[in-house]
């Protein structure tokens, strides 16, 4: 199995190289001049030329790409134009916010979707099934950014119970250790800050998780439906086991295997969703950073972010394949 994964890992390298080439040239060829965008339209020609020289923009594109590859090989993506700091450092300060948000979105989605899906699948065509199916359909049809706006309208505007933006109220959180606010606050036993961070993350996580919720619910339901007809389920019932135990012990443990794959596949969608949800909630994560970087034509930062997202996506797919083999002993690589 290790051999298989080493092979898969090696196989992703040319793919990543091709993607870096594609992204690099697309971004550099895009209209808009980073020097004018960052220094202002009225900067004199000498300053523009100096900035271009400093950022290496005066050299031919293929030389720039080779230089970029050189810095990637040494574990860096170059220096951000806008922040004048190494791209990896800029991304590192923003990444925990996105990961924290994604984890919460997954928790909300699975906590709601799996029980609902199991329930609905175990009692096909009951009222709970109809409710669950409608819920699932609503979930997959919901544009996350619209839900985000409507949540702000309702929970922050009308009811005024949750904050509209950001990760925490100024001055409550202690010093940063890991960058994950909730984890940091728990480590520092600062319970007020934990609660504060939770109220901030609730709406964005719900908006981000809604599509995954819908899909997970539907997959769980159809998977349960399929397993319910298996012989061993009939055996379990025949020996007089309570229906609840049959569903939760015999059916669910087998039916949830495909659900893992779907969680993995949807993580990619979640990553992209974070770009738009973070923008709505002014969530200081890597998604909103990408939009800022793109608007400033901060080439190294955009390339670095796109590559980070893509590598995360590829890595997730690899991990999911591994998990799959772990849960289902019939699969061997």
């Amino acid at each position: 199995m290790t051999g298989y994964f080493v092979q898969r890992l090696a196989g992703t390298l040319p793919v990543l190289l091709l993607i870096s080439l594609l992204v690099f040239f697309l971004i550099h060829a895009a209209p808009g001049d980073p020097t004018l965008l960052l220094l202002g339209e009225e900067t004199n020609a000498a300053d523009v030329a100096r900035a271009k020289e400093r950022w290496g923009l005066d050299q031919p594109l293929h030389i720039q790409y080779l230089k970029f590859l050189q810095s990637v090989a040494s574990g860096d993506f170059g220096k951000s134009f806008k922040y004048a700091e190494p791209v990896t450092r800029v991304i590192k300060t923003r990444l925990p916010a996105t990961i924290e948000l994604a984890i919460f979105a997954i928790i909300i989605a699975t906590l709601l979707a799996i029980p609902l899906g199991v329930w609905a699948g175990a009692r096909p065509n009951s009222w709970i099934d109809n409710l669950g199916t409608t819920f699932g359909l609503f979930g997959i049809s919901m544009p996350s950014f619209w839900l985000a706006i409507m949540l702000i309208l309702l929970l922050a505007g009308v009811l005024n119970v949750l904050p509209t933006s950001g990760r925490s109220t100024y001055g409550i959180a202690g010093p940063e250790q890991t960058g994950f606010y909730i984890l940091d606050s728990i480590l520092q036993k600062n319970w007020a800050a934990v609660g504060d961070a939770m109220t901030h993350i609730l709406m964005p996580a719900l908006a981000l998780g809604v599509n995954m919720l819908g899909i997970l619910m539907r997959v769980t339901r159809s998977s349960i439906l399929e397993v319910m007809n298996e012989d061993y389920v009939r055996t379990a019932r025949a020996k007089g086991l309570q229906e609840n135990k049959v569903v939760w012990r015999h059916v669910s443990s087998n039916a949830l295997i495909p659900v893992i794959t779907v969680v993995g596949l949807e993580l990619g969608t979640l990553l992209s969703g974070s770009i738009i949800v973070e923008t709505v909630f002014a969530w200081p994560g890597s998604g909103s950073l990408l939009i800022t970087a793109l608007n400033a034509r901060d080439y190294p930062l955009v390339t670095g972010l796109v590559m980070t997202y893509t590598m995360a996506f590829v890595a997730i797919n690899l991990i999911i394949d591994g998990l799959y083999a772990l849960v289902d002993p019939r699969i061997r690589y």
């Binding site: 793919v15 971004i27 049809s141 544009p143 619209w146 706006i149 409507m150 505007g157 309570q242």
Partner: protein, 298 residues
């Protein structure tokens, strides 16, 4: 506890179909009505939209919806433009983008998938490498990157969305072609002297239409959301074209003061996508239940 009797075991198959049918009808009917309404409004909308969608009425800014009979049924936005008229015109863009993306990506995906599965070997390897590279991008991210390169515009947007949406067709079609290739009717056609192109277009592709139709409905739903997302982020269609996504982007600043600005365009996206998904579900149950395991279709 459920009792296990002989009757329940015998009843099962008939009961299952009996239960499936009405549910299928409700889904197909509701979905069909919504999609039909969407298409009709998209095509005929400009003739019955009450106002010019871009006409600014500075004396009637941010008017709340005042009910039937008033000048602006769904209110006006921050520049005094009629929301109802803008929503109606917005459906045109969504309709155009959705159909264009589905057909173009369907054409590319089915063709490449059929070629890949039928010929195998080097061609298959190359096409599958392309699939792997494009599919390694998180969705939306490739769209954003391409739009940054091409600039705002309707045609560019369609191009950016097609860039990734042909892949589901390609993958499913390739898998099916692999099994169709060995079937007797293909061998028979080969024996009768049919060329490769004739076999693919006459014998293979007609067998792939049903599955592709199901893939297409889900691709349509996802491209409507993607179009709105990109326009919302400001990298979709230019701001002078009213679309549901740009309307939502404009509405963001007024969330706290004017609830009708974000409500109506978002509701349109949601209901339209819901209708397409309902129709897709019904189509899938009817034509190709094997696709069910993927949950969303695509």
């Amino acid at each position: 506890m459920r009792s296990l009797t002989l009757e329940s075991a015998i009843e099962k198959p008939a009961g299952k179909l009996g239960r499936l049918l009405p549910r299928l009808h409700v889904k197909a009917f509701t979905g069909g009505i919504i999609v039909l309404a969407f298409i009709m409004i998209g095509i005929l909308g400009p003739w019955f939209a009450p106002h010019d969608p871009n006409k600014q009425e500075l004396t009637a800014m941010l008017k709340a919806p005042q009910g039937v009979g008033s000048a602006h049924l769904l209110g006006t936005d921050n520049l005094g433009r009629d929301i109802l008229s803008r929503v109606i015109h917005g459906s045109r863009v969504s309709l155009l983008v959705a159909f264009a993306v589905v057909f173009v990506s369907g054409f590319i995906g089915i063709t490449l998938g059929a070629i890949s599965g039928y010929f195998g070997g080097k061609v298959d390897f190359l096409i599958q490498k392309l699939v792997e590279v494009v599919w390694a991008f998180p969705p939306l991210l490739l769209g954003i990157t391409i739009m940054a390169f091409l600039g705002q515009g309707l045609f560019n947007l369609i191009l950016a969305l097609v860039a990734q949406r042909w892949i589901p067709y390609c993958r499913i079609v390739r898998g099916q072609t692999l099994s169709l290739r060995t079937r007797d009717f293909v061998t028979a056609a080969q024996c009768l002297g049919a060329g490769n192109r004739q076999i693919i277009t006459r014998h293979i592709i007609p067998n792939l239409i049903q599955t592709s139709l199901v893939v297409g409905t889900f691709a349509m739903a996802s491209s409507i959301i993607a179009e709105a997302s990109l326009s919302f982020l400001g990298v979709g269609v230019p701001p002078e074209i009213p679309t549901w996504g740009t309307m939502l982007a404009d509405a963001r600043i007024y969330i706290s003061t004017a609830w009708w600005l974000p409500l109506f365009p978002g509701l349109c996206i949601f209901v339209t996508v819901l209708g397409i998904n309902l129709l897709g579900d019904a189509l899938r149950d009817l034509l190709d239940p094997r696709l069910k395991r993927t949950g969303s279709g695509i």
